[in-house]
């Protein structure tokens, strides 16, 4: 795991020797009333890496992801994704950015229950304006890559949890996003299914060169990441930083 631990440069200023990070945040603060959920987060996420975000419940990791994805607007600080400062974008423009450059995988997959697997995967492609035939064809290819070809015509209710989660991964990858935010993607699965899903996801993202920000409570899941950060009380873990200094 030591190889995956943050370095000081990862946490703060990126090294000039390293390429431009895909996601770059400085001094992120977010408050909900009297509660300060984020208290000055500085972070770089590099292209193609898999970053695990860990921390106890209520530590602020979901808020962090919301800010990184442009779902929440920080009260202070900046978020730059793929060279675009999210603070300078309107809500519609941020939605457009999410559609074009970001994919999501949720704990329960959150597939549309009325659509079969191939239509679920084709949906974001259609949202981006692709024709139905081409979208269906590409969706079929992604299902194939995730070994779900035989599930293409099934609706989520007729699949196992692991299968549904792999369909959700196919959906997230179908648009070739720059980054995927995965929030406890294996949280609802047993250990065998969880391992299958993670393996499938990481294999697919590495082939596609996609960046992944993975929220998890589970150290075994975090172990699949290239590195991990720990959020505690709205800040990156001081212990981690100190140990890396």
């Amino acid at each position: 795991m030591a190889d995956n631990i943050l370095t000081a440069s990862d946490i703060y200023e990126p090294s000039t020797a390293r390429p431009e990070p895909l996601i770059h945040t400085t001094g992120l603060h977010k408050r909900f009333g009297a509660t300060e959920a984020l208290r000055g987060i500085d972070l770089n996420v590099h292209r193609g890496e898999v970053l695990a975000v860990m921390g106890p419940s209520g530590s602020g990791k979901s808020t962090l992801i919301h800010c990184l994805a442009g779902v929440l607007t920080p009260d202070e600080g900046h978020v730059v994704v793929d060279g675009v400062d999210l603070g300078a974008l309107s809500a519609d423009a941020r939605a457009r950015l999410r559609l074009e450059r970001i994919g999501f995988v949720f704990q329960f997959g959150q597939l549309l229950p009325d659509l079969n697997a191939v239509d679920n995967v084709a949906l974001p492609l259609l949202m981006r304006g692709m024709g139905r035939k081409k979208a269906t064809s590409q969706a079929g290819e992604w299902l194939d890559r995730l070994e779900l070809a035989d599930q293409a015509a099934k609706v989520p209710g007729d699949m196992s949890g692991g299968q549904a989660q792999r369909v959700a991964i196919a959906r997230a990858l179908a648009t070739n996003p720059s980054v995927i935010f995965a929030d406890e993607p294996t949280g609802s699965l047993d250990s065998v299914a969880a391992e299958n899903v993670l393996t499938a996801m990481l294999q697919a993202v590495r082939e596609a060169g996609t960046t992944v920000v993975l929220i998890t409570h589970d150290p075994r899941t975090a172990a699949y990441a290239d590195r991990e950060i720990i959020v505690r009380d709205g800040k990156l873990s001081a212990a981690s930083i100190a140990s890396l200094a």
């Binding site: 979901s62 457009r96 999410r98 949720f106 549309l112 229950p113 259609l126 609706v155």
Partner: protein, 726 residues
């Protein structure tokens, strides 16, 4: 289950209260309308019985007509009566003239004292009309008013009726006068049979959308309820216990709604009383069922509501894990077309077999056919929606259409149910518009050379009329351009009516050039042919000879005051045997007042049904959107703009609505065509009148408004900041 636990389970949050409030409101509306319709249905024969005294057909006793049969001598045991329909413009007035001895033994309606010659009783509405109209245009026709007719002698509150006294000899001289030894106290009930049929059909048409609304409201927060029921099952409650709880909840809500419905009925009665039945608005009492019927309705609705909820919950059997997976609907199969086919079959048998079916079977066929067809539309709708959705899904090109197609395919029953009320309402009004469309193709009176002028009044003369004096009187009146006499000719010649050529030209005929005297056909000159074929032209005759005048025609300047003054003068002269009439009066009398009244009722019913259905659509759309709040929220989170979500919601309602609306309109017109053809009167179905298109436009507008009303909620409830990563 202990009451405290039940209370916790059923009334745990604001949504539970909203749902119950919706059920109570829906049931209250249904019960209020049901009670008004029931009251009207039950009291229809009473209305006719109260008004029986103005109906000539049911008077009894010795009858003398046109002098052919001698009337009995003047005496206390009989009275003379003469019934007629007078007009003020196009408004008909029931007029009964009576002649009685001062010691008559004949009981008058409601124990009234017989009016003397020149005296009259008037209904309250008639008295008000007389008071608000110049005497020389109305009041002078009848003499001096004694008092108002009591309600117990009237069909309804707006009935225009006069009971006027006359001299025995003068009345005896008029053709059509009848001698009777009692007034009729029982009507023929023809009208009440017709209206009862219509009310029964109307009840079905109104209660279907209300039932759908209640069904939709009861599904509010269904997903959340399933979760709660599943949790309770998990901690030990049985299937029957959950069903009983659900039944109790619905039964109590229905009971509260039904009781509120009684209050609502009393509130709505004044508005409902304004709808005309048999030519009159209703007394409030005629819309109110007895307390016994109210009790039956209240308990019946509560029992029905509770039982239905019990059965549905028991059948659904929410298990301990019931909420973990999305519940698929039962597959809609082609068998859903069976009730519709049966309904059309019943209609066909009733209409085609009208000549040999007895009236009970005919009525049952019509009612059963209507109920089955309306029910059949509701049952068949999901199957039609499913077929449409499959087609739509294959051809979806955009994300919103794909999401909508998925929903329609998987939930055809739920999606159709939201629009079913509108579809049934359109079916009803289309059928009625089709049935009455022949009226718009019926000839309307218009000014044509060769026909009596539209500005002319025609009246039969009494046997002892001073015809010349009447003509002089009329010609001297302001607003009367000419007054002429029509003579009874030789019927063997084919023409019974003779006039001078000059007089004929004055009233609208085109006499042959050089003719002094002509024979005319008054019948074709008064009634427009359906195809506007030209009336028979006058023909030259040698002379009027010994023929006696039997009709008088006064041509006026056409304004209402001139016509009514001339009409009043003719009646007041005592020389006319019956109320004077214009061609417009004749056309109106033949123009199916009942059908027009039914038309008004149908469109009012349609309006109510559409409003209820629009409300149901609103609730259903919002419910469907709320149930998918998380799905929609995640779609927005993934970058789907709100306008795309609006398109999803619009498509989900618009697809079943547009197609089934077209289908139900077509079905309505088909049924109407079937009935018109079966009646075999040579009537043809024409284009529906403007009201139909207004009703359709209203349906579509309310449907669109119902869908649009959910947009704000969808935007708010799917804000990305409120969507959690769960």
């Amino acid at each position: 289950m202990r009451p405290s636990a039940a209370r916790l389970l059923l009334f745990s949050n604001a949504a539970s209260y909203r749902r119950l409030a919706g059920i109570v409101a829906g049931v209250a509306a249904a019960v209020a309308m049901l009670l008004i319709l029931l009251g009207t249905y039950l009291h229809l024969p009473d209305r006719e019985d109260r008004g029986a005294w103005v109906s000539q057909e049911v008077t009894a006793g010795t009858q003398g007509y046109d002098g052919a049969v001698a009337l009995p001598d003047q005496g206390a045991s009989v009275i003379l009566t003469r019934v007629g329909v007078d007009y003020l413009d196009l408004t008909p007035i029931d007029v009964v003239r009576v002649a009685a001895t001062h010691d008559t033994q004949v009981a008058f309606p409601a124990g009234l004292t017989p009016p003397g010659s020149g005296e009259y009783y008037a209904s309250p509405a008639m008295a008000a009309l007389i008071a608000s109209t110049p005497p020389d245009e109305l009041g002078d026709r009848y003499g001096t008013m004694i008092s108002e007719l009591p309600a117990s002698t009237l069909k309804g509150s707006s009935q225009l009726a006069v009971l006027a006294g006359a001299e025995w000899d003068a009345l005896a001289a008029l053709p059509g006068t009848t001698a009777v030894d009692q007034f009729a106290t029982r009507g023929r009930h023809d009208d009440s049979t017709t209206y009862r049929l219509v009310i029964a059909i109307g009840s079905i048409a109104l209660l279907v959308p209300i039932a759908l609304l209640i069904g939709i409201v009861s599904q509010l927060g269904a997903a959340e309820r399933r979760e709660r029921f599943a949790t309770v099952r998990l901690i030990g409650a049985g299937r029957r216990g959950i069903a009983a709880l659900s039944g109790l909840e619905m039964g109590l809500a229905s009971l509260a709604g039904a009781l509120a419905g009684i209050g609502l009925m009393y509130t709505l009665r004044p508005a409902a009383a304004l709808i005309k039945i048999s030519g009159s608005e209703s007394f409030l009492a005629d819309l109110t069922p007895s307390p016994g019927w109210m009790a039956i309705a209240v308990l019946g609705v509560a029992l029905l509501g509770g039982s239905a909820a019990w059965w549905r919950t028991y059948r659904d059997d929410v298990g301990a894990l019931g909420a973990s997976r999305e519940r698929a609907e039962k597959r809609a199969t082609v068998a859903r077309l069976i009730p519709l086919a049966l309904g059309l079959g019943a209609f066909s048998v009733a209409t085609l077999g009208q000549s040999w079916l007895d009236s009970t079977l005919f009525t049952l066929g019509l009612l059963g056919g209507f109920a089955l067809t309306a029910f059949g539309i509701v049952v068949a709708g999901p199957w039609v929606t499913k077929v449409l959705a499959a087609f739509f899904a294959r051809h979806a090109r955009t994300a919103p259409s794909l999401v909508a197609a998925g929903r329609l395919s998987r939930h055809p029953r739920a999606t159709f149910r939201s629009v079913a009320g509108l579809v049934v309402a359109v079916y009803l009004v289309s059928m009625f518009a089709g049935l009455t469309s022949f009226l718009s193709s019926t000839a309307k009176p218009r000014e044509v050379t060769g026909m009596i002028s539209l500005d002319a009044l025609v009246a039969p003369l009494s046997h002892e009329a001073d015809a010349a004096g009447l003509v002089s009187l009329l010609e001297a009146m302001p607003g009367v351009s000419s007054a002429v006499l029509v003579y009874g000719g030789d019927s063997t010649s084919g023409y019974a009516d003779l006039m001078t050529a000059k007089d004929a030209a004055a009233v609208g005929f085109a006499p042959p050039a050089g003719a002094e005297t002509v024979a005319v056909n008054m019948s074709t000159a008064l009634y427009d042919a359906a195809d506007y074929s030209p009336p028979e032209p006058p023909s030259r005759v040698d002379a009027i000879g010994a023929a006696a005048p039997y009709q008088v025609i006064a041509v006026t300047e056409g304004d209402d005051a001139s016509i009514e003054r001339a009409r009043t003068a003719m009646i007041a002269s005592g020389s006319v045997a019956g109320p004077p009439y214009t061609r417009a009066n004749l056309a109106d009398a033949g123009n199916l007042t009942t059908v027009n009244e039914l038309g008004v009722m149908a469109y009012i019913g349609m309006g109510i049904a559409v409003a209820i259905s629009a409300l149901a659509l609103t609730v259903a759309t919002i419910t469907a959107a709320l149930d998918r709040k998380r799905t929609f929220g995640l779609l927005r989170l993934s970058g789907m703009p709100v306008r795309a979500l609006r398109r999803v919601i619009t498509t989900e309602a618009a697809v079943p609505l547009s197609v089934t609306l077209l289908g139900s309109a077509g079905l309505g017109f088909f049924v109407a065509w079937l009935m018109i053809e079966a009646l075999g009167n040579g009537e043809k179905m024409g284009a529906p009148d403007g009201r139909y298109w207004i009703a359709i436009a209203l349906s579509l507008a309310l449907g669109a408004a119902a869908i649009a009303s959910s947009f704000g909620m969808v935007r708010r409830s799917t804000e990305v900041t409120s969507t959690r990563f769960e």
